[in-house]
């Protein structure tokens, strides 16, 4: 029988990284940089924030930065009104060391940006996904509540989890991934081996701790949100502290809304830049002559509905991956989990 689990060390991880690089891939993922954690090219595993629990809560970056960058040159138009889109030929790349929450965000951005030629191009160049599974949640994490973590569910080639200082449990995600684990001669282990049992036990403990405040999970949330739609005073109260900075949108791995900025050049040509825009920002919904989302509570409500109600109506996966970034980076301390809790308390059918 084919083994699902393998055991190795940091050295094994290094081997995987080198193997990917030797195949000509650019390897991208979270890395330590100037006292912060950003997403960029990884040249050595020493740069990686290995084994850090709740990584998503301590980096404002996510894989969105790689697949749907904050600022893109979108269009070039010459003085004669002939337009074309700029070359966007990135090389094939691997995502390495990303966490399960970010992995799940791919499924959502794939849906939201299915007609986006720039995203599609980058997405088609993504050929390998190596996921670091979390063994310990951060204080803002709630992936287990959504069902996106702390272990990786699908769409990855290899996952790994650090269970000791230099002990790593690897798991195959695809045949391609399995093949690599075999090439690198990692030790195959039984699912009842002490390493795998420890890995599972820790993941389970992490999952349980994130669910603590929601005894009944999020069941009934879409229906509760639906019932809350017209309750203006409720949404005003809940979003009271929101100042519309849209930090939450920027750090959210699944917020993909964007704006265009057109600029005329001296030679009669013009360029279009596309950059992220958040639904919490005061311009969202504004048009010449009127504003379709005049008040802050309307924009906050949209943020919540877009994550938890609209996907339910459209029968697609939840728009939130539970990474907790929106909570960690809110300057006003607004906690999405509290919002969900209050919606459930007031509107869930008992």
């Amino acid at each position: 029988m084919e083994a699902e689990y393998y055991v190795g060390s940091r050295q094994s991880l290094k081997k995987i990284l080198n193997e990917l690089k030797s195949r000509g891939l650019k390897v991208l993922g979270p890395k330590k940089s100037s006292g912060s954690i950003v997403y960029g090219e990884i040249s050595d595993i020493e740069e990686m924030p290995l084994g850090i629990g709740g990584l998503s809560s301590i980096t404002h970056h996510s894989i969105k930065e790689i697949l749907h960058p904050s600022n893109q040159r979108f269009l070039y138009t010459d003085s004669n009104y002939t337009s074309h889109i700029p070359e966007n030929g990135t090389e094939s790349f691997a995502l390495f060391g990303i966490r399960p929450c970010d992995l799940s965000s791919l499924q959502i951005t794939d849906l939201l940006l299915s007609e986006d030629p720039f995203y599609n191009n980058r997405r088609s160049k993504l050929t390998w996904v190596i996921v670091e599974e979390c063994q310990e949640p951060g204080i803002f994490c709630f992936c287990s509540l959504i069902g996106t973590g702390p272990t990786a569910k699908a769409d990855f080639d290899i996952s790994y989890a650090l269970i000791g200082r230099d002990c790593i449990v690897f798991r195959k995600g695809t045949e391609k991934g399995e093949k690599m684990l075999k090439i690198l001669q990692l030790k195959e282990v039984d699912e009842n081996s002490k390493e795998v049992l420890l890995y599972k036990q820790r993941a389970e403990a992490a999952a349980v701790s994130m669910k603590k405040r929601f005894r009944e999970g999020l069941s009934g949330l879409p229906e509760a949100l639906d019932a809350s739609l017209g309750d203006v005073s409720f949404w005003k109260k809940i979003s009271d502290r929101c100042i519309g900075c849209s930090n939450c949108n920027m750090v959210c791995p699944t917020c993909t809304c964007s704006e265009f900025l057109d600029e005329a050049m001296m030679d009669g040509s013009a360029e279009r830049q596309r950059f992220w825009v958040g639904c919490l920002s005061p311009v969202y919904g504004e048009v010449a002559g009127t504003h379709f989302r005049k008040e802050q509570y309307m924009r906050y409500r949209h943020f919540v509905l877009h994550k938890f109600l609209f996907p339910f109506i459209k029968q697609v996966p939840s728009g939130c991956v539970g990474c907790g970034r929106c909570i960690a980076f809110c300057p006003m301390g607004l906690d999405l989990r509290n919002t969900l809790q209050e919606v459930l308390i007031k509107y869930a059918k008992k």
């Binding site: 138009t77 007609e115 379709f292 005049k294 949209h302």
Partner: protein, 283 residues
């Protein structure tokens, strides 16, 4: 063609030539533009073009008349009111013979084909009459395919009425009831006075008519509600919505209305599909 080539085409504007400009009112003009390489079949009533003025910006503009095929291209009609940066720039700077950029047409359009054999109500307010005009002209061309036609078109004042040069000719349409109305009485005005929903309340409509409504959102909301209460099927009442819109193809996310994207799920929606959202301000 590869999918990637198809989606690339949707984000790149085509150059179009402005063939003719008609001054409608002090703040509104109608542009006849020629777009090479397109066919009129795509330019169904109710769809819109993203109009790009180089370096200034891009705005969604509904087709305001039926398009014609000509010289391996299409003559399309757009009516633009100067309200924002791009539309005002267009009104003040674009001349006949100039080039502009256009993408599309996008959106679903009015389901007029499905309304064959039925009575038709067209209710437009202000610039909202522009996207409805192609329906009217479609019916004029295919008169025998439709039942009685009711038209209610309202403007703020007589001077704000669009298409003054053809309004009278609508009255020649057989089996029709045409109402022009203005918000407040004005000297020399021979039509009616009152808001569009009020006029709808005054006329005797057949309950199985199909309704097509466009105007300020509050007018669409009140008009639709009135028609629904009058006994019309909410699946047969259609409104064309406006939102902040950047891409026109469902990738920028700025035109969301509830769970809909106005650009690709709309801009035309049945009242049945949107009545709940229309009651929730800012959704």
């Amino acid at each position: 063609m590869l999918k990637s080539e198809e989606i690339k085409k949707k984000v790149v504007p085509n150059a179009a030539e402005v063939v003719e400009i008609i001054e409608e009112t002090k703040d509104t003009k109608t542009y006849k533009i020629f777009i090479k390489g397109k066919v009129s079949d795509e330019f169904r009533p109710g769809r819109f073009l993203m109009v790009y003025l180089k370096g200034s910006g891009e705005i969604p503009i509904s087709l305001s008349d039926l398009a014609q095929d000509k010289d391996n291209g299409v003559l399309a009609i757009l009516t633009v009111r100067g309200v924002g940066v791009v539309s005002q720039y267009m009104l003040s700077k674009v001349r006949e013979g100039d080039k502009i950029g256009v993408r599309g047409p996008f959106g679903n359009g009015w389901p007029i084909e499905n309304a064959r054999g039925k009575d038709i109500l067209i209710a437009g307010g202000g610039i909202g009459f522009a996207p409805l005009r192609p329906i009217l002209n479609y019916i004029r061309k295919n008169r025998k395919d439709f039942g009685k036609v009711y038209l209610v078109y309202g403007a703020r004042s007589p001077w704000d009425m669009l298409y003054k040069y053809e309004l009278e000719s609508y009255k020649e349409l057989p089996n029709s009831e045409i109402h022009f109305t203005i918000d407040r009485p004005a000297e020399g005005w021979k039509g009616e006075v009152g808001l569009v929903p009020d006029i709808l309340g005054r006329i005797k409509l057949s309950t199985d008519a199909w309704s097509f409504i466009c105007g300020p959102e509050i007018m669409m909301k009140i008009a639709s509600k009135r028609l629904y209460e009058f006994g019309m099927d909410p699946k047969r009442i259609f409104v064309s919505l406006e939102r902040r819109m950047r891409c026109g193809i469902g990738i920028c996310g700025t035109c969301q209305f509830g769970h809909y994207y106005v650009c690709k799920d709309g801009p035309v929606f049945s009242y049945k599909d949107v009545y709940r959202y229309m009651e929730v301000e800012g959704i």
